[in-house]
Amino acid sequence: MEGSSQIYEQLLGELRERIPEIAIQVEEEVQRGRRVAATALSGSDRTDRDEKLRFAGSKISKEDLATVEYSGDEKLALLIDSLLRLGTSMATSREAILGLLGGTDTSTTIELVVGQTGALAARIDLATEVPGARTAIERHRPALVEALAELGR
């Protein structure tokens, strides 16, 4: 997609403001790059390394590893895929826990308590949160899937 690197930067900035932890996960993976077997490199990536190694009196072997940068489309796809997985896991996690409590007399509100101190960290009413989490991902899933398809994923 034309301008995909710029679009990625724009959307990453927005994600950083709204859900920073997920933005960091995406950003760190992009900074790490894709590690691939040197023999599996394609096009100019392979040719460039072949020439440099030949100059050094060697050649690419099957043990060689290389790191290549994510393309603009790949970065954008990674961000969108991460949103899909986040939305799905938020919905399915809440549903699974509520399902375990279903049919018992146990309250559907769970408490998260600091293990060492016993301090209450959060109280979550799953019966209230499940519909919102499911609606959020289902509302946006079709467009995100279409966007991934547009990027060849």
Binding site: E14, I19, Q25, L86, I110, L112, G115, G132, E146
Partner: protein, 217 residues
Amino acid sequence: MTSAELIAAVEAAIGGLDGVYRTAADESDLYEAALLTVAVDAARRAGGVEMLTNDGATPAATVRFRRGPGHLWNGGFTFARVEFPQTPKRLEIHLGIMVAGASSVAHECDVALIDAMECERSRAGAVHPRRRAVVAALEAKHYAGPPGLDIGRGFLGFSGEIGPGKCALVFPGQTSASLATLIARKSPECFPEVEPGSPAAQRLRGHIDQQIRNWLA
């Protein structure tokens, strides 16, 4: 889809998901609790009957899960107690408890399936359960993107302490080629793309089911 439409769609999704997203710690805790449900389901398939309890004797009225590591013997936290009608063996499934590893250092297990006799010993003596009584242990990482290699290296260290064949690294994101290669052909297992109900969660459930059956045999 034009680039403008793509931007609008992703911006709308970020806003919509942000409306549900609590905090990183809350979402991580919810993911660990969801993995407990996968472990309970595996125990059922292995023939078990579970009870969610805070005291080991009565059903929990309110579920209280740990945030961060805690001691098994500190009461009041919810765990699953599983009985197997065909044997006297019993299993407990805990979240966020410390387990004594091979180096005599205690390590946090995000989800731990432990022989109930060892859990009773732990409560009686206020000592951490020993690794030999661990049936299975899950290291949960709530990563929507691919976790880095540092996560894999940490997991291999953890599994060396608890027992490689018992441990699994679990996360909802895709794996990276590096992480998959690092853990491939080793005893501890890696389960990417695990969300309750997903094909990967079914594979994880089957893996835990088999570990329970091996322990029961």
